[in-house]
């Protein structure tokens, strides 16, 4: 769809040839790379995700294989050498578990829960938001009333009540996070779709006689994606933080799924006796993860909205 194709070759010597339009992806990557802080965030995020993915191969021990744990190694300070001759760079917890290994395994669970919950919430919210915007009328009113009602309660409260009814568990917390987050995506999708609906390309598609479903998902959807991707990034961070909070409170994940929140919770009792590392290091890992995601999200917000570029 290059503009230059339509120009007659004869015009070339007189008018300087128009540059072929840059692909949007290339522009986004170039603009993104202009912020050192955002690049740092991205690098940090990649390191964290890679470390979590490769945890079984790069950790000194499998923290949940009881044969590799020794009670003699319990509550060692960071850097101390354990009974078996292994160094515990980040210390060990009450069961003699290496904190570094436990943190990487915890990151896997935290990331997985955040990604699954957020992606599902995005899909549900996106579909409902687009439907509300495109069909309007009563469909719109019903969906948006529900969204408004939902958003008037703080997320932590909604999640807490849901988990009080559903009980602890991996599936339950994912369901709770999806229910907490879909409304945010629905509202954003509707607002974006409403502003896109009046554009010429939608009118063109309508006059071509395309079906509503096809216009909705084939034409409207791709144009609504940029702001939603920004929201998605930021919401992953808040999903991970919410899961950690709920697990810390003892209503989230069960003890068999030791996410970062549970690790921090386990270490809390030791903080009072000065053994800070059991709680502090998983917390730093959680903080780094959240900050990295937010840095990337903030920059994406600037890059995907051309008006904001300075």
């Amino acid at each position: 769809m290059s503009v230059t194709d339509t120009q007659p070759p004869a015009a070339a010597p007189l008018i300087p040839r128009a540059q072929p339009p840059e692909r949007p992806a290339a522009r986004i990557i170039r603009d993104f790379a202009r912020s050192p802080l955002a690049l740092f965030g991205l690098a940090l995020l990649l390191v964290i995700v890679l470390a979590a993915l490769l945890a079984p191969w790069i950790t000194p021990q499998n923290p949940y294989d009881l044969r590799s744990l020794s009670i003699m190694d319990s509550r060692l300070a960071p850097g101390e050498v354990g009974f078996s001759g292994v160094s515990f760079w980040l210390g060990s917890d009450g069961q003699g578990r290496d904190m570094f290994s436990a943190i990487l395994y915890g990151l896997r669970i935290s990331l997985m829960v955040g990604l699954i919950a957020c992606t599902s919430a995005l899909l549900i919210g996106l579909t409902l938001g687009l439907v509300a915007a495109y069909f309007g009328g009563r469909t719109d009113t019903v969906i948006m009333r529900l969204v408004d009602l939902h958003l008037s309660f703080p997320p932590i409260l909604v999640a807490l009540i849901l988990l009080a009814i559903l009980g602890r568990g991996l599936e339950n917390i994912i369901v709770a996070l999806i229910i907490v987050q879909w409304a945010t995506f629905a509202r954003m999708a509707r607002a974006t779709a409403l502003s896109e609906r009046g554009r010429e390309y939608v009118e063109a598609a309508q006059s071509l006689g395309l079906s509503r479903i096809r216009i909705l998902f084939g034409h409207l959807l791709p144009n609504c994606l940029p702001p939603l991707m920004v929201l998605y990034t930021v919401e992953i961070a808040s999903a991970i933080a919410l899961e950690a909070t709920l697990s810390f409170l003892g209503v989230g994940l069960p003890a068999t799924q030791p996410s970062l929140g549970l690790l921090i919770s386990n270490g809390f009792q030791f903080v009072l006796s000065g053994q800070y590392w059991i709680s502090v290091f998983p917390g730093i890992a959680l903080l780094l993860l959240i900050v990295a995601i937010n840095l990337v999200g903030d920059r994406l917000r600037d890059v995907l909205n051309p008006r904001n570029i300075t």
Partner: protein, 324 residues
């Protein structure tokens, strides 16, 4: 007046909808018999309670009975404490409200000056430091930040007590730990912990408001008139950035009560939030249901108050509504 009545009716309607949702939720998730009756009850007791609670009647009839009981303040007894659930919650409520109040005071008293400063001196290192701090306050998970506060200020430095509410004083018939030195000493850390997230929000709002208002004609006119800088900032500027902040404070009061769950659990603050977490852990369902209803009512009242306050500060809103 029309506006007030309309908002009251809306709030009432919302309350009805929410009570129906809660009721349907209890129904959809499991057998209400299991939720409302102690699992240790004998067969005869169960049958008696089912008849007493009207669980053998049709759905809509049961909803009206449920609603009737709620309106009479009957939420059932706690399994753990064997006392009325509502009484338990209302007893704990002052501790939570006082914590949320202290947090709001901290957020507003520190947040507005910092935000206005960052807005007026935009681009200076001081302003950037304030904004960086607010971003950090935003990102640090509340519960971990509480642990760090305890670790640094209670365990390492020993400045503040680790947990509890301290002495409670009485002033004008209100019992609160805000009225004793020992109580203030106890409330400091939990209140700061609860405040930090909202402090960051207040700073952001005050800053963007200041930058927006500062460029407007009436501020330039005030400058041209030769008014002193403090008068411009305190009278002309502040009044015009207050609306979003008042909304935030009103809305966030609900959020603070919700987030107090985390703070109260960590600092062993004897409020509603700690009660609900304990009740969820011990499967004390009547207390959970009662907490849910109480919190919904609090939220409806808060939303109503914010709207009313809003129309007091900015008469344009009331006029717009009336014109429709």
């Amino acid at each position: 007046m029309v506006f007030v009545i309309r908002r009251l009716l809306q709030a009432l309607f919302l309350g009805l909808v929410m009570s129906a949702l809660v009721f349907a939720g209890i129904f959809a998730v499991g057998n209400p018999v299991d939720i409302l009756i102690d699992p240790d009850a004998t067969q005869a007791e169960r049958a008696r309670l089912i008849a007493q609670l009207g669980l053998d009647r049709p759905f809509h009839e049961q909803y009206f009975i449920f609603l009737g009981n709620l309106l009479q303040g009957d939420f059932g007894n706690s399994f753990v404490y064997n006392r009325p659930a509502l009484t338990l919650i209302l007893e704990r409520m002052p501790a939570t409200l006082e914590l949320a109040f202290a947090a709001i005071v901290i957020a507003v008293v520190l947040g507005i000056p910092l935000g206005v400063y960052a807005g007026l001196r935009h681009g200076t290192p001081g302003s950037q430091a304030v904004m960086a701090g607010s971003i950090l306050g935003f990102s640090v998970p509340n519960f971990w930040q509480a642990i760090m506060l305890i670790m640094v200020f209670s365990v390492m430095l020993g400045w503040f007590p680790v947990s509890g509410r301290g002495e409670v004083g009485t002033f004008l018939g209100i019992r609160s730990s805000l009225f004793t030195l020992n109580g203030l000493h106890h409330i400091a850390l939990p209140a700061i912990n609860l405040a930090i997230g909202h402090l960051a929000l207040v700073i952001r709002l005050a800053r963007s408001g200041t930058r927006e208002v500062q460029a407007q004609d009436f501020i330039r006119f005030a400058r041209a008139k030769g008014l002193s800088e403090p008068r411009i900032v305190l009278v002309h500027l502040l009044r015009n950035i207050l609306i979003p902040i008042v909304t935030l404070v009103g809305m966030s009061f609900g959020g603070l009560i919700a987030f107090a769950v985390v703070t109260e659990t960590i600092f062993a603050w004897p409020g509603m939030g700690k009660l609900i977490i304990d009740s969820i852990r011990m499967l004390d369902r009547p207390v959970v249901v009662a907490y849910l209803i109480v919190i919904v009512v609090i939220f409806i009242i808060l939303n109503l108050l914010v709207d009313l306050l809003y129309s007091l500060i900015d008469p344009r809103i009331r006029l717009d509504e009336a014109r429709q």
